[in-house]
Amino acid sequence: MRKMRKNFISGLSLIVILSLIFALASCSKPTEGGQPTGKPTEAPSETDPAETSEPVNEEPVELSILMSGDNTPSEDNIVLQELGRRTNTIIKMTYVPGADHATKKSTLAASNSLPDIFNTSGDEAIEFKEGGFLAEVGDLIYKYAPNIIANIGENLEKAPINSDGIYLVLDARLGYIRQLNMRTDWLANLGMELPTDLDSLYKVLYAFTYNDPDGDGQDDTFGLCANTNPNMFATIFGAYGIPVNCNIELEDGTVTIWVKHPKFLEAMEYINKLNKDGLIEPDWATIPTMDMFGKLWNGVAGAIEWECVGPTNNWMPSRYTEDPVPTFDFPIIKGPDGSHGTPTTYMSLTSGWAFSSNCKNLEAAVKFANYCMSEEGNELLYLGIEGTMYRWIDKEAGQYELLGEYKDSATHRASGGWVYWYLFAPTHHTEIRTFNKQTQEGVALARKISIPHVYIATPLQTRLEYGADMDQLINEMYVEMLAADGDLKSIYDRYIGEWESIGGTEWEIEATKAWKAQEGN
C-alpha cells in the first residue's frame, strides 16, 4: 500500500510538471497563429513582377477560400503556390471533408467569419444574400472577368439570386448525362447485337443472366446492376418518355413530378418484370455504391446505367479484374413511340461561387476567379504545373502524360493536382478535354439524345416546407413497386394519394406558376 501511494504521488507530480510544460508550450501557439504572414511574405520576392499583369510593386493579396472534398493535399503544395504567383495572391485554403462542408459553413456564417471565397447554392445562397454575407460584384465582373462572362453568359443575370446585382458566380460546368453502358464483349460471345428497343433489351439482359455470357460455365452473371435510385433505370424510363427524377409538364400544363407521367406505371411494369425474372442483380436494395460498381468491375453485371465517364474512362483499365478488360458501347433504347434518351442537364441557375462581404479586396478576388475560369487556370488546378508535373502529348486530343514522381497519383494529389479543379471551373473544363476518345464521344452522344425537362430556378416555398417528406414517399413507393409481387397500381395509388395530401398538390400549383413565369421571360 505504501509503495502504491508513493508511486501515485510521483505519478501525480509528473502530471503537474507535464501540465506546466504543456501550458507554457501552448501559450506560444496562439501568437504563432496570430501572425500568419510570417512565412508567406517571402513569396513576393520570388515573384518576377514582369510575369504578372499586375502593376509592379503591388503587394500580393491574401485570399481565404473554403473548399471541400476527400483529398489530403499539403497546405503549402506547389499548385497553390503557383496559382498564387500567377494571380499575385496568397491563398489560405481551408479544405474540409465533403460530408461536413455544410456544417462548417453554417458555423462560419453564424459567427460572421465566412472566408473570402466559398461555394453555396439554393436556399442557403439566398439566405446568405439576405443576411448581407455576399458581396455584390457585378461591376467588377464586367470590368475584370471576361472569362466568367464568356462561360456563364446571360445566365449570370438570369439567375433569380442575381436579379438585383451579381452575388453568385454560377457553376459553369454542366453535369454529365447518364446512359446505358453495355458490355460488347459479352454480346459478341452470345452472338447478339446492341439492343435498340425494349424487347431486344429484355432479350439481351436475359441472355446476360442465363446464357453464360462470360463462358465460364457458371450461372454467376446478371443483366445489370442497380441500387435504390430510380436513375439506375434512366434509359428505360427514357424509352417511355419519362425524365427520371426530374419534373415534367403534363398535357394540361400542370407541372409535377416524374412519377405522375402517364406512362410511369407501364415503365414500372417493365422494370418490375426485369426484377422478377432475376435479370437485375438481386442485392440492389441494400448494396453500397462501391459494391455496386464492383459488380461491374468483377464481371458480374453486363450493363450499368451511369455517366460513361466511369465505365469507359476513369475505371479503365485498372478497376476491371478480367483479362482482357471488358469493352463497352452505349445502346440507344427506343420505346413504343420512339422516345429515347435520359434527362438532360442544364447549367445551374442556383449554385456557384460567392464572395464574402468580409472580403477586403474584392477586385483581386474577382481577378483571381477570372484566372481560374481560364483554360490555363483550370489546367493548372487539374493537371498541375506544366513541365514539372505533366506534359502534353497532343493537346488538341487531350492526351498528356504525367512526369517523374507525379506519375503516382497519390503524389500528384498531395502536390495539389486534381484537387481544386472545380474552383471556378469553365464549361469546357480540362477533365472533359482529357477524356479518351470513346468517352468524349459517349459524353457527346448522351447530350445529343438527352430529353428536356422542367427546371425551375426559384426556390419553391412548398418544397422548402415539405420537400424531404415528399421525396421520401416517392423513394419508398419506387422500391416497393420495383420489388412487388402483386399489383403495382394499388401501391401507386396509395402513395400518390398520400403524396398529394402532404403537400404535393400545393407544390404542383406553386411549381406550375413558377414555371409559367420563368417560361414567360
Binding site: 456564417a109 443576411g131 446478371f222 453500397p288
Partner: protein, 320 residues
C-alpha cells in the same frame, strides 16, 4: 441536502450566518476543489444553452441568434403535424424500448460471465475482444452485414447451398417485419463490450472478504454471483440506468442511418434520421433544435418518473 435547522433561520439570521461561516471554515477546501469543474460546466455547457431558444425562433444562420423572431411553439406544431414525423416517433419509441429491455441488461450479464473466467490471460483476451466492435464505425459494420446477408453473394447463401438448399434466400436486411430485431441485435452486439468496462471496474472494487464470507455460509458459485457481485453492482446499475433512460429518445442515428434502406424505412425511420433528412434538404435549424429539445425533454421526464418510482421502492437508489 443536509437540512439547516429551519426554526432559527428567520428569527436569528446571525446564528444562521455563524453556522454557515463555521461550516465554510471547515469545508472551504471542498468548494475550492469543485470550483474548476463548476466553472467548466457553467462556461462550456450553460453559456451556449441560449441556443435552445432556437427551438422557439425562426432562426437562420444569416441572422444573429438574438434577432431571430420568436415564433412560440410553431416549430413543434410544424413537426407534429407531419405524418412522417409521427411515424418516426412511433418507431423511435419501440426501438428505444427494445434497446433498453434487451440491450441494457446484456453488458451486466456479460461482465458477470467474464468475471467467472478463471484464467486471467483468457479473461483479458475476452475483454479486449468484446470491445473491438465499438471501434468500427456502423458504415463498416454494415458492409460486413451486407457481406453476410446478401442474397446473391452472402455467407448465409453459401452456407444454405452447402446444406443443399436451393432457391432464393430471404434478405433479412429488407424484411420490414424483422428489421427492428436486426437493429436491436446488432446494437447489442456492437455496444455490449464497451458497456462491460464500468461494471468490470466496479466488480474489481468489490471487497474479496464478501466472497469468502458467502462461501463460508455455503453459497455456491451462482449464488455468490447473485448475492455478492450483482448486489455490489446495484448502485452502478442504477446510475447507468438513469443515464440510459435520459437518452431514451436518441435511438441510434449512426446505426440506423448506416444499415437501413428504403424498403424498411417505414419501420426503421427514427427521429434523428428524420430530422437529418429535413435538415439536409431544407436547412431547418429551428425544427431540428425543436426536435432535439423534445427528445431531451422526454428524457428528462422519464428520468423524473424513474426517480419517483425508485424513491418509492427504495429511497437509497433515487438520485434526487
Amino acid at each position: 441536502m443536509q437540512t439547516v435547522r429551519k426554526e432559527n433561520t428567520l428569527g436569528r439570521p446571525a446564528a444562521w450566518l455563524k453556522e454557515f461561516l463555521q461550516y465554510m471554515r471547515k469545508e472551504y477546501m471542498l468548494y475550492l476543489m469543485i470550483l474548476p469543474g463548476v466553472l467548466y460546466i457553467v462556461i462550456f455547457k450553460y453559456l451556449p444553452m441560449y441556443g435552445i431558444t432556437i427551438a422557439f425562433r425562426d432562426y437562420k444562420v444569416s441572422s444573429s441568434l438574438f434577432n431571430a423572431p420568436w415564433v412560440g411553439f410553431d416549430n413543434f406544431v410544424n413537426l407534429f403535424s407531419r405524418s412522417a414525423f409521427i411515424r418516426a416517433l412511433t418507431n423511435n419509441i419501440f426501438i428505444s424500448i427494445y434497446k433498453l429491455i434487451f440491450g441494457f441488461p446484456f453488458p451486466i450479464i456479460l461482465s458477470l460471465l467474464i468475471n467467472e473466467v478463471r484464467n486471467s490471460k483468457v479473461k483479458k483476451f475476452v475483454q479486449t475482444s468484446v470491445i473491438l466492435p465499438d471501434f468500427v464505425s456502423w458504415i463498416v459494420i454494415y458492409g460486413l452485414m451486407y457481406a453476410i446477408f446478401s442474397p446473391s453473394s452472402g455467407a448465409i447463401k453459401g452456407l444454405a447451398e452447402m446444406l443443399g438448399h436451393k432457391g432464393k434466400i430471404p434478405n433479412v436486411l429488407t424484411q420490414k417485419e424483422t428489421f427492428k430485431s436486426v437493429i436491436v441485435i446488432s446494437h447489442i452486439w456492437k455496444s455490449a463490450g464497451m458497456g462491460t468496462i464500468v461494471y468490470l471496474a466496479a466488480i474489481s472494487g468489490i471487497d474479496q472478504d464478501l466472497y469468502e464470507a458467502a462461501a463460508i455460509d455455503g453459497a455456491g458459485r451462482w449464488q455468490q454471483m447473485w448475492h455478492v457481485t450483482l448486489a455490489s453492482l446495484r448502485s452502478t446499475i442504477i446510475v447507468l440506468l438513469f443515464f440510459r433512460v435520459g437518452q431514451m429518445m436518441y435511438a441510434g442515428f449512426d446505426q440506423i442511418f448506416a444499415i437501413s434502406n428504403d424498403l424498411v424505412m417505414s419501420t426503421a425511420d427514427i427521429i434523428d434520421t428524420y430530422v437529418y433528412r429535413l435538415g439536409l434538404e431544407q436547412r431547418k435549424f429551428s425544427i431540428a433544435t425543436a426536435a432535439g429539445l423534445f427528445q431531451s425533454a422526454i428524457g428528462m421526464a422519464l428520468v423524473l418518473i424513474t426517480n419517483y418510482i425508485a424513491r418509492k421502492v427504495d429511497p437509497d437508489s433515487a438520485i434526487m
